[in-house]
């Protein structure tokens, strides 16, 4: 049975592209693809239990991806969350790490998306090269 993924990405072209891209990957299935935090909660309510992983864009309209991450980690402590962002910025990386994300992927390298998702599903941490040092610093500070 493929691993179930909740995708939260607000951009109307990026969201279906990402969904399709991950769906093509063996062992992965995007069970819900939504554009904001409220829709993500609604999608979770309609599921029979949480998915295996939530892939969340950091910059969402309204409630941010980091805030959604905090809420999801509270409601579903076992849910693995992977953050996705165009910003390779220390403040975002640190906030994601502190809120309990299992990784941080910088957009721009499609090959990385399924690799990162699979790594986190395997219980590992995944960070793009551009933010690896920031993640490590956040880890040391924790």
């Amino acid at each position: 049975m493929p691993a179930q993924i909740l995708l939260v990405e607000d951009h109307d072209l990026m969201r279906p592209s990402m969904q399709e891209y991950l769906d093509r990957e063996e062992g992965l299935e995007v069970v819900a693809a939504v554009g904001n935090a409220a829709d993500a909660r609604e999608a979770l309510r309609q599921m029979n239990g949480p998915p295996d992983l939530a892939l969340i864009d950091v910059a969402l309209p309204g409630q941010s991806g980091i805030e959604l991450l905090q809420d999801l980690r509270t409601d579903h402590p076992d849910l693995r969350c992977l953050m996705l962002s165009g910003h390779a910025e220390e403040s975002y990386v640190r906030a994601a790490k502190e809120a309990g994300a299992k990784g941080y992927v910088v957009k721009g390298k499609p090959d990385v998306y399924p690799r990162a998702v699979k790594a986190v599903l395997d219980g590992k941490t995944y960070t793009s090269d551009a933010v690896a040092a920031m993640w490590n610093r956040a880890e040391e500070a924790a």
Partner: protein, 407 residues
């Protein structure tokens, strides 16, 4: 002060040998010509005692013209000259007369007297002490000139000057505030543009990139498709998209450096150094970093943009790939000094700056810095490199607009 007894004579006299008033207090009554000259002089010739009262020994007719009091109303037995002088000016007169006596010199004093109708008149008193053979002061001789009109004109001029200076100061403050508002507004526009680039263009490109990746993967997964027959190499499209994303990302960062949001000028310059190295392969040496000062946001933005413009100028026009940046407080620790120096080809500089449209940003930097009350000095010559120095005062906090003014 001497306590010489009051003289009763009411006319001056001359010392035939010295050509000055003689010791005698009796006037040559027959010398009409002398009196004619004395009383036709503009002002009032006088002789008075050197004591606490300045009793009049003689006062010329001009006194009445000055203050409406006939000269004979001042006499040794009656009203003293001191009585017509305003209280608050008396000490000044005493001090200056004392100095003239000590130095055996003249005195020239401006002070006020109360006229017959109660109005105040200004006089200029040019006089000298006269000494006897024993070196004691016999009396004071002098002439009073009515300078009321001049004083009024001076006061009027002074008021106009003060008003003018106040207006200039107000306009300067307005200009600085407007410039500060403009700088912040400009940066907000840049921030907005950067956000649109990031949120719209960049995200769109990510989507296209993912689609293109699937297309390329699809081609790879179908052996019946001969990639060589395709008009464009699929990986080339991917490469173009990567470049487009990178360019957009860099443009957004250039427009709105994230470091400007919250960090100080030092961090901003360090960030600029790393960006120039990373993106342009251009070395920026921070020889001295700015002191830790509380710099208002708009000034920090201005200085950052100015230094960046100067560095880009070096990169574009100096023919070198290295610039040095220094930042420190001025000698009075009241302002900031930032300099950008290069060892490049320099240029001929006669005070006029190249037009901004020519690609040089120097004039733009100078104009903007000037709005903040600062200066941009350029030291350069062909083959001698260039040193651009910005000097800018630290504004008072009340001189710059608060965030609320933008809401």
């Amino acid at each position: 002060m001497s306590d010489e007894p009051p003289h009763t004579d009411t006319s001056p006299e001359t010392d035939a040998q010295a050509g000055e008033p003689s010791d005698s207090s009796s006037a040559p009554a027959n010398d009409d010509r002398l009196w004619g000259v004395v009383n036709r002089l503009p002002g009032a010739v006088y002789r008075c005692t050197y004591d606490t009262e300045w009793r009049s020994l003689y006062m010329g007719d001009g006194f009445e013209e000055i203050c409406g009091l006939p000269p004979d109303t001042l006499d040794p037995a009656g009203r003293s000259f001191k009585e017509v002088v305003l209280d608050e000016d008396r000490d000044k007169i005493r001090a200056q007369v004392r100095t003239a006596i000590e130095n055996r010199s003249h005195y020239s004093i401006e002070y006020r007297i109360r006229s017959h109708d109660g109005t105040v008149r200004w006089v200029e008193d040019n006089g000298r002490p006269v000494f006897n053979e024993g070196g004691e002061v016999k009396w004071l001789d002098g002439i009073l000139l009515d300078i009321t009109d001049r004083k009024e004109a001076e006061r009027s001029l002074r008021r106009m000057k003060e008003t003018l200076e106040q207006q200039v100061e107000e306009r300067t403050q307005q200009l600085r505030r407007a410039s500060a508002l403009l700088t912040v507004a400009e940066q907000r526009e840049r921030d907005d543009l950067a956000r649109r680039l990031h949120d719209d263009v960049e995200q769109f490109l990510y989507g296209v990139q993912a689609q293109a990746k699937m297309l390329v993967d699809g081609i790879d997964e179908h052996p019946e498709v001969d990639a060589d027959t395709l008009p464009v190499e699929p990986s080339y499209v991917e490469s173009l998209l990567r470049d487009a994303i990178e360019t957009t990302r860099r443009l957004a960062v250039d427009l709105s450096p994230p470091v400007l949001d919250s960090d100080g000028l030092t961090e901003a310059l360090q960030w600029l150094r790393s960006q120039m190295q990373q993106n342009c392969d251009f070395e920026v040496v921070l020889e001295e970093t700015p002191p830790v000062l509380s710099i208002p946001d708009e000034l920090r933005m201005l200085l950052f943009q100015a230094v960046r413009e100067l560095i880009l100028n070096v990169r574009e026009h100096a023919g070198v790939d290295r610039a040095r940046v220094r930042a420190h407080t001025d000698e009075h620790e009241e302002g900031l000094v930032l300099s950008v120096t290069d060892d490049g080809q320099g240029f001929r500089h006669d005070g006029e700056l190249p037009d901004p449209d020519s690609g040089f940003g120097l004039r733009r930097v100078r104009e903007r810095v000037r709005f903040f009350g600062g200066t941009l000095d350029i030291d350069t010559a062909p083959g001698e490199g260039t040193c651009c120095t910005i000097r800018i005062p630290m504004p008072d906090q009340h001189d710059v607009p608060g965030n609320g003014e933008f809401e």
